[in-house]
Amino acid sequence: MDVTTLLIILLLGAFATYFSGDKWAPKVALLFSLTAFAGAICLLSQYNLGNEISYSKLWIAKPKIYFALQADGLALAMVLLTTALTPIIIFSSFGNTYKNSKAFYALIVFMSFAMSGTFLASDGLLYYIFWELSLIPIYFIALIWGNGDAEERKKAVVKFFIYTLAGSLFMLIAFVYLFQKAGSFLISDLTALNLSSSEQFWIFMAFFLAYAIKIPLIPFHTWQAKVYQKAPTVGTMLLAGIMLKMGLYSVIRWQLPIAPLAAKEYMYVFIGLGIAGVIYGSIVALKQKDLKKLLAYSSMAHVGLIAAGAYTLTLDGLRGAVLQMIAHGFVVVGLFFVAEIIFRRYETRKIAEMGGIRAQSPKFTSMFMILVLASVALPSTFNFVGEFTVLYSLSQVNVWFAILGGTTIILGAYYMLKMFQHIMLGETNAKLFADVTFNEGLALVVVIAVLFFFGLYPKPIMELITPSLENILTQINRFN
């Protein structure tokens, strides 16, 4: 199977969903996203057979831009994450009804297409196009199908859109500069450049702006909580589960190999920034009153740690970051789905208005508990593998980083358990809370199964990503 086929499936899926009408749209979207997942598995098997999975064709002759896609282990892992999460996300929305649902689901599939493209693209401009393309569907999803006051929502979403777009423009500038130097946008050409250290610094910072806003790193995170709160849960899942990973992936794929000198010189600053995000996010999460906002800040804390791991520039750091990215993708989708399940029954996201759910819904409680535990990185869950590796790499840079970053396991446990206690425990709630339906349960079980399977046996993913991370490391170390 060709790598373009995967993208074509998703693109076709978006159109097919739109033209299938409101009634059939969810099913068609699910079908196509599952097909895409199967396609990704297919690519994986080919990759494991040793085939090079790439596609390259001159797209625009002048300036020289290629339509170049390449899937190494890292990109494949991310594409698998995207295509695996998309069906889960679509499936999880089956309990809701959306007006004009054909457009809604089409946008979801389209977003999956754009994000897969971002992960696969190996030409800078193509990558940039996909990167920006993924912003469009989430903008509409959050704007049209979001919740809360329309005016306030519009403000939050527009802020998000402009903010991320503005950040990305700096990345475009960096690409244009690099193009002038290298004569093409291909990553292989860009990483072969011999840039002076001041050039690298500016390019690094330009990339950093784009990624720090997307990831988001403190203090560029101000868009996050509001948008997570206002967007429909599906949109939040897409944002937190996959889109944040685009930023982190790009750090590893583009930023570090292109400007390694700057990354090395200012390593402590960026690791410190990541860890500051960990502590800040955790502390802010403590007192959030809105469940989705709390999860937003918790997500910010986790990605801070991931970013810190990536900026250590060690194999362990990069590997831990990627593992944690995947693990976090699953767990955050699960947690947001839990929030949605509660919302379906109680019509509220205020933690204070919940409580005493446990007695009424044992199944839901167990699943929620497991997700909470995975989120606080209990050993034997996937998150632990990632968090352990990242913290280990931090300790190799400086033990204090590991200690400060490690506060996440204390503070994380604090706010997550506090949240769990206030939502689930206590006297039985007067309002009826029906236990999870089969569909809801299935989605959660899939997430949980993935978390446990890879928590105990992460080797497949490690073996998938390690060679490509080693390649990236040699590029990073090419100036030594």
Binding site: V284, R319, G356, Q396
Partner: protein, 630 residues
Amino acid sequence: MDTNLVLVLLLAPFLGFLFNVFLGKKAGKNVVGIVGTLSVAVSFVITLYLFANASQEPVVINLFDWISIQRFDISFGFLIDQLSILWLLFVTGIGSLIHLYSISYMHDDEKMHSFFAYLNLFIFFMIALVIGSNLLMMFIGWEGVGLCSYLLIGFWYKNQNFNDAAKKAFIMNRIGDLGFLIGIFIVGSLFNTLDFTSLRTTIESAKDVSDLWIAIAALALFIGATGKSAQLPLYTWLPDAMAGPTPVSALIHAATMVTAGIFMLTRLNFLFDMAPSVQNIIAIVGACTALVAATIALVQNDIKKVLAYSTVSQLGLMFLALGLGAYEVAVFHVITHAFFKACLFLGSGSVIHGLHGEQDMRKMGGLKKAMPITFITMLIASLAIAGIFPLAGFWSKDEILMTAFNHSNNKALWVVGSIASIMTAFYMFRLIYLTFFNSFRGTEEQKHHLHESPSLITVPLIILAILSFVGGAISLPGHSWLNDYLAPLFTKVAHEEHTLGSTEYMLMAIATIGALIGIGIAYKKYLKDNTIPSEDAEITGLSKVLYNKYYVDEIYDSVFVKPINLLSDLFREHVEKSLSALVFGLGKVTNEIAIQGKKAHNGSVGFYLFAFVIGVIVILTYLFLQQFFI
């Protein structure tokens, strides 16, 4: 040794857990209890088999590579050696007894199936902790038992105070876990392995490793141990953990989980031997904990709180021994303590069960007649913990004190340990007298229903009482089976056997006399004078400080918890807003520029033309002047 056997040993409780989770509700309470107990009993039987057939050499079973670090791989494997078998024996053994006990104790609870599920899960994780072949495998069990402890403390989840206690236990444990993790990181980067067996050989052969880093690693690991084993300064969760059902307190918070720290230190004895300064810290922390907890236990009125502080105090004594390098002595005390403390907790559970949930000793009394078996077993266990010859506690506690006495010229540790022991004798008999002697002080309703507990409760009590009686036999001075059994574990020559000289006999005598004094004071105060501890509001002076546990909880609350919450408010209310305003500010600046710029676009053609021509002039001038400056 058979891999499958070890897997069965490990997975039997897990299967019990799965059964109870998925089928427990349908299967009915009796089936739940039987399956839960059997699954642990299976593990116990296998452990016995392993014990009987154990070889001298440790057996390592590697299943698969789990996590890869650049410089080494961490395997998913098990290590079966003398230490793990010993621990398995009493974990599964006492575990089975407590499961048996719980069948009756929890029979009236509607969520009995989840209780047994959690209990089985706990045994599973505890086994994983004990037989893990490397630090990270141990960490799985380590966190897993913490999780089960959380679930079981908060078992009655409708009471938010219990939930708070559970949360507190989990978070305090996590503080320790961070220390553990840091320790793992440092050990990993120093020695490039986390496997216990290869770690031991590496450390013994490594010469160029900095002592400082080893000490830091040891200290970090010890912090991990203080969390799990409730030592200063992280002990406050354990008394609160008594919110859980009593069998849980017996199993997790007295016999097994809290000894995990001692297990870890013993496991890594070769590492701690390299860091004498940390050993000193351990000894001092242990002694302080023993003393502080004992003083608090003196005035507590909740029967389980007394036992909880007693546990903390005894754990302190164990750490004292560990700090002195006497690992086998600490292990010995762990075992005897498991017997008599489990017995005490189960006995108190029996009392509470008999009184329908009453835990305040001021409302008990005179239960001797109504609950004879409970009374006798608890009396035996109390004598054992007080250190009366020839019960189990006497031998183990005496060895700790002897080690402390012989260790150096500084006798302070010995003095502290002895004082703690005397206090132990006092508060234990205070408990016995208040609970079982004199007349009943509860309500008529309760008095009417007083009865001995059913045999499912008393049988484990009797077994444990017997074990508390004879348990000391495994390590008698001069002829210690335990020391011989554990000898292969330790790098140092097992610390020289005490020759039973005059000093030793004198120490034994002092300890016994001390214990008798403690019992005597309790006898005088609570049996002869029939003093009843005063109501909460009337407590004054020193005892008020003690009753309120030195206000440590309040101090922690105002030093750590409140500031973090305040910080959270500050961040949420102000920092977030101002950061947000900063971003919006950029937008506002743009807007302002637009508003100003708009004024130039007044729509007048003449003005536009002017601007246009001036622009042309400027561009031309620039182009013209450019050539002179390049």
